[in-house]
């Protein structure tokens, strides 16, 4: 007895220590990479936002001066306003994605092929989407101008119109985003409980009522992820603005992400401190959503 117990006992001690150390060994490479390139830079950026710095010479501590300057910067307000417009209109991707998903959720010949082609725009780089739509909007030979002319209207140069330009870019951005939401909903729809639907059908539910009271509640996870990725996408919008207008005309289509880049790294100057202040503002706006997401995740983990 004693002889057979002994190794078990020592294995237990060994196991205990092994289980305490092993996770850190597995985690170490990932953590180091993530710390160096993601976590530490966040704090460095916030730190830089308290300096006036051109990237070459000596950085000068200016305290909150960059933030005070932001309060009087009309370009900053335009960008902030545009980010808000992006956020609101970009969320249209969620119902539109649901709409297309409902349209495609059928079993007919070739439907899988249709689904993948509808998803297509999401796979393409935003640079390419931006170029496609720049061309689409081109007042001289774009598709839209062509449609306008054939209907007897004067073509509108959407991307040179201060009042329309942001909407034009958002419309282009919606194209891939709707595709993304669509695929999330298609997956969700394939998991909708048949039993619940049958029961509801026996109770006389159909059409809109069925959708609203029976199907949508079951699609909540898909809706949640759609909203999260769309909000993040809206606040991250950079590529489309850079490709289609570079924030123009006269800064009217700027968003925080692009304005930050322009301030810190373009021919308009190397104001790294000021750029960091813009980035910090954007970061804290984003942090609201990140916190909300983590909160949901936490509740989920505790529930599981």
């Amino acid at each position: 007895m004693r002889r057979s117990n002994y190794p078990n006992y020592s294995t237990a001690i060994y196991l205990k220590n092994k289980l305490a150390i092993s996770p850190w060994l597995f985690l170490m490479p990932g953590i180091i990479f993530f710390l160096i390139y993601v976590i530490i830079p966040i704090f460095q950026s916030i730190w830089v936002s308290f300096y006036e710095w051109d990237g070459l010479g000596q950085a000068q501590w200016v305290g909150l001066a960059n933030y005070v300057e932001l309060l009087d910067d009309e370009y900053f307000y335009t960008s902030l306003k545009n980010n808000f417009i992006w956020l609101v209109l970009y969320l249209l991707a969620v119902p539109l994605g649901l709409f297309i998903a409902l349209f495609l959720n059928q079993i007919v010949f070739g439907i899988r092929f249709y689904k993948s082609l509808f998803f297509f725009p999401f796979v393409i780089s935003q640079v390419v989407v931006g170029l496609i739509f720049s061309w689409f909007y081109n007042p001289n030979f774009g598709l839209l101008a062509h449609i306008f002319t054939s209907l007897g209207f004067e073509p509108i140069a959407i991307l040179s119109d201060e009042n329309l330009v942001t909407y034009g870019i958002i419309f282009a951005g919606l194209w891939p985003q709707v595709a993304y939401c669509m695929i999330l909903y298609l997956t969700g729809l394939s998991n909708v409980s048949r039993d619940l639907m049958e029961a509801a059908r026996l109770d006389g539910a159909k059409g809109w009522k069925m959708l609203w009271y029976v199907v949508l509640p079951q699609l909540r996870p898909a809706t949640f992820i759609s909203v999260v990725v769309t909000v993040i996408g809206a606040l991250r919008s950079f590529d489309m603005v850079a490709i289609m207008t570079e924030g123009g005309p006269y800064g009217s289509s700027n968003v925080l992400a692009y304005y930050m880049f322009e301030t810190a790294l373009s021919e308009y100057g190397f104001r790294l401190g000021y750029g960091s202040a813009i980035a910090t503002v954007l970061f804290f706006i984003m942090l609201i959503y990140i916190t909300y997401f983590l909160f949901r995740l936490y509740k989920n983990e505790k529930g599981a």
């Binding site: 092993s22 990932g30 460095q44 729809l189 790294l265």
Partner: protein
């Protein structure tokens, strides 16, 4: 199934649906079709305003080879591959290890570390831009392929770890437990028990990361200058500047940039969608 299966509807409704489907698709892909049609036209067509009529000549091969001849498209494509493929390998590898640790071991820091990975994955790029660029310049990684690979790998590790951790957590824990009781070492458990079971997740992550990194434009702009290490996305943008009024060439170049992720998507469609929708089914 919702909406009601089409097969239970009247035959005229079915016919209507089958006609509506291709029409809707054509409208949905109209911008793409139009740019493809532009990419096979002659410059004469473009300049005379024949952009939507029947092309006077079909120049599919001519236009596309013109792009390769007149630009550094080959170099850009090569750069994109050398940035994307190592990033996929490195970030998936790091995430396997980290995800395994976070899913299997119970320790106090498990959830906080997991949350940091998730949160980091959502931050705006701009909050990282200046320090990352600065660090790349001072370590000689600025304007190199390696610099881009290291950054992308680190950043994508956040999403990949989130993904792998959730996937591994779904595996039956008894498998690992029984391995431990048999006295199998932790590394061997990882290599021989867990790794074979997460192959679908590896495939899903690989296609996703490939697409994300291939399509990156922001970091290509921030971490490079000049043409030598530019990926195709940034390359197409600079072509757009050079080829003013050569829309047939810009269109062709754009489509060339789009081909690899599109091919990847079609080949690995099941994995791609599985990856994208993980977590949206059960929450």
């Amino acid at each position: 199934m919702f909406p009601k299966p089409i097969a239970t509807r009247s035959s005229s409704y079915q016919l209507f649906y089958k006609i509506a489907l291709p029409i809707a698709l054509i409208f949905w892909l109209l911008p793409l079709l139009a740019i493809f049609m532009t990419s096979i036209r002659s410059s004469v067509d473009i300049n005379t305003g024949n952009v939507f009529g029947w092309p006077s000549q079909f120049l599919l091969i001519e236009n596309y080879s013109e792009v390769f001849k007149r630009s550094q498209a080959i170099l850009y494509l090569k750069n994109s591959f050398f940035i994307t493929v190592p990033t996929v390998v490195l970030s998936v590898l790091l995430a396997c290890l980290a995800g395994y640790a976070l899913a299997i071991y119970r320790f106090r820091w498990s959830l906080p570390i997991f949350f940091i990975f998730v949160a980091g994955n959502f931050v705006p790029f701009q909050i990282l831009m200046i320090p990352v660029r600065d660090m790349s310049v001072s370590t000689g990684l600025y304007n190199t392929i390696m610099g881009q690979v290291l950054f992308h790998s680190a950043f994508q590790t956040g999403f990949c770890t989130f993904f792998m951790r959730n996937f591994i957590k779904e595996l039956p824990f008894e498998l690992i437990e029984s391995g431990r009781i048999e006295g199998v070492g932790e590394v061997k458990i990882f290599l021989y028990i867990v790794l074979p079971l997460v192959k679908p997740a590896l495939a899903a992550l690989s296609v996703l990361i490939f697409t994300f990194v291939w399509n990156d434009f922001f970091w290509a702009t921030v971490l490079t200058q000049g043409e030598s290490v530019k990926p195709i996305t940034a390359g197409v943008r600079s072509l757009n500047g050079q080829y003013v009024n050569n829309w047939h060439l810009v269109s062709a170049a754009s489509l060339i940039a789009a081909i690899p992720p599109v091919v990847m998507f079609f080949l690995m469609q099941k994995h791609f969608i599985a990856g994208l929708t993980l977590g949206s089914v059960k929450q």
